[in-house]
């Protein structure tokens, strides 16, 4: 198994080196945004992949993070915070907000809860779109300063790429760590049978709230980066349709597959750009692709990416001499 990790690291290194050589300007913008979206998708992975809770709320927390930066770093209310502390403050603030909201929303179960997150998105969107003093109304807020890291200003998309990749890697490592520790296991037990989880000592309610807070913090963090990257925030981004898109992004790569999430996010953002010629049909293809994807997910595992990886993996395994897959065996000390 170890060689897979090394291949992964090498591939990552190639990716980090090659992309800025190949892309710039608009296309780099797209890649950066795709990577930022993957951070949001990671939050969804925790909630849905691990915990089995379908939540649309991430998009509103993303907006929260973005508007937070937009208000706190631009002297709108007399506060002019430098971007780095504001950025680091964002996930903390929104973890708390998400926690409080989660305490209320998780009094509901299953689909009730999902509907309540949709309600949340609608409420948030309406405020984002209408309340000028904080959110700038339909025009949004522009002129947001770019990230300033101890004096180094990220003024080009290519420069942004590195910091965004670093953030994605950190988030990925965190999420994977969660998966392998008690929180991840407890969420999995909730996903598979809530009542049984209770009998195993899992505080189902609080665990869900915690997962929701982490997802909210991640989304807010991504939103903060996003608005500094694009130097603009507007309500359009944070609507129900995009909420659905984030969920699909997470499912695409394999909602429980840490690498697949990034792949899914990149596919969703980049593919439409590559298929420019099919612009008119893009949405239709997208819709059909979603349905097809859900149909062909093999039982128990999610994501096109995982299927492909399985096929590639088994191909490699079959063709390596001496490492045929071991069969599970049992030994009884007595017959």
């Amino acid at each position: 198994m170890k060689y897979k990790i090394w291949i992964g690291i090498v591939a990552l290194g190639v990716f980090i080196f090659a992309i800025p050589q190949v892309l710039e300007g608009y296309s780099m913008n797209v890649m950066n945004v795709a990577l930022l979206f993957s951070i949001v998708a990671y939050g969804i992975s925790i909630m849905m992949g691990m915990g089995g809770q379908l939540s649309f709320a991430s998009v509103s927390f993303m907006g929260g993070g973005a508007y937070f930066i937009a208000n706190v770093c631009t002297n709108r209310f007399g506060i002019n915070m430098p971007t780095l502390p504001a950025l680091l403050l964002t996930p903390v603030v929104f973890a708390v907000i998400a926690f409080v909201i989660g305490l209320f929303l998780f009094k509901l179960k299953g689909t009730y809860f999902t509907f309540s997150t949709i309600a949340l998105v609608q409420v948030a969107y309406t405020f984002f779109n209408n309340y000028k003093p904080i959110f700038g109304g339909a025009d949004g807020i522009s002129g947001i300063p770019t990230l300033n890291l101890f004096g180094y200003k990220f003024t080009s998309y290519n420069k942004w790429f590195y910091v965004i990749v670093a953030c994605v890697i950190i988030v990925a490592v965190l999420v994977e760590r969660i998966r392998r520790t008690q929180l991840g296991r407890s969420l999995a037990s909730i996903r598979d049978n809530e009542t049984a989880a209770l009998t195993l000592g899992v505080n189902v309610y609080m665990t869900k709230v915690i997962a929701f807070s982490i997802a909210g913090a991640l989304a807010a963090f991504a939103g903060a980066l996003w608005c500094m990257h694009g130097k603009f925030v507007g309500a359009d981004m944070f609507n129900y349709a995009n909420a659905a898109q984030f969920i699909i992004m997470a499912m695409l790569g394999g909602v429980n597959n840490t690498i697949g999430i990034v792949v899914g996010a990149i596919l969703v953002k980049v593919l439409p750009e590559l298929l420019r010629s099919l612009q008119a049909y893009m949405q239709l293809i997208w819709g059909i692709a979603i349905i097809v994807l859900m149909v062909f997910m093999p039982s128990g595992r999610a994501g096109l990416y995982e299927r492909v990886r399985e096929k590639v993996g088994s191909f490699i395994d079959k063709n390596k001499p001496g490492t045929g897959k071991e069969q599970p065996h049992e030994t009884s000390s007595k017959a």
């Binding site: 009094k107 509907f115 309600a119 949340l120 405020f127 997208w286 819709g287 149909v295 997910m297 999610a302």
Partner: protein, 297 residues
Amino acid sequence: MDFTLFSTLVINGLAMGVIYAMLAMGLILLIRAVGILNFAQGDLLMFGAFISSSLILDFELPLFIMIPLALLSFCIVGLIFMFAIYWPLRKASYPAATIIATMGASIVLKEVATFIWGALPRSLSPILTDEAGKAAILYIGSVPLQWQYVLIIVVGSILIFLIFMLFEKLYVGKMMQAACQDAYAANLLGVPTIVTIAATYMIVSVLASVGGYLVAPIFMVRNTLGTLQLRAFAGVVIGGFGNIKGAIVGSILVGLIEVFSTVSFSGYKDVTVFLLLIVFLVIRPQGLFGEKIADKA
């Protein structure tokens, strides 16, 4: 506020409430009889609106021909929807998969509608118009009410009532629910599961599409009509999940609240409805009529 304004708002609210109730009823039917949460419900309404308006505007069919044709088309759409979404996914191990697939279907329905009928909204005149071609008004005392709203309330209520009787009281409906809950037993009892499921999808499609036809003159026929489903979601939850009666009452409530809040906070009417939903959920999670949520090991 004067009485005229009040009555107008009430009628408008009830009418929208009935539309939401039709959507909500379809949602619950699909959940209880088929076990799927349909995020394309509003788009079925939208598609129904397009079909109806096309039959009237493009084919210039008189009402008595248009209605049976439209109903037939709605059933066909329902069947196609079932074969595309439900059938391949009926054994999916990830319940979220079906939900996401309906999200995909929502997009597909929008795009197909745009391809067939174009991206521009179309206007459809109300069912009853006066000599000048404008919306006919019904006068109750001195209060003017738009006939279209009244028709929505009447037609919608009748349809809801009929289907409610089918599902809550009559054997057929209970059989369909049983078929969902235990396909094996239902098969043993001679209820062909696929038939009951197909019937459910057709009924749901008709409910939503008729709603689309009724509401088209008010909102114009456009591919964004699907967002009406969000109000239906709110109605379903407020009413108490899984409960048809609750969903209907909840949806009508939502319609009324929405309309009345446009008086004071026009831009924020969504906030009123959905904030109320959240507050409601927190205070009374089981909704108005739901049972207390009981867990079993």
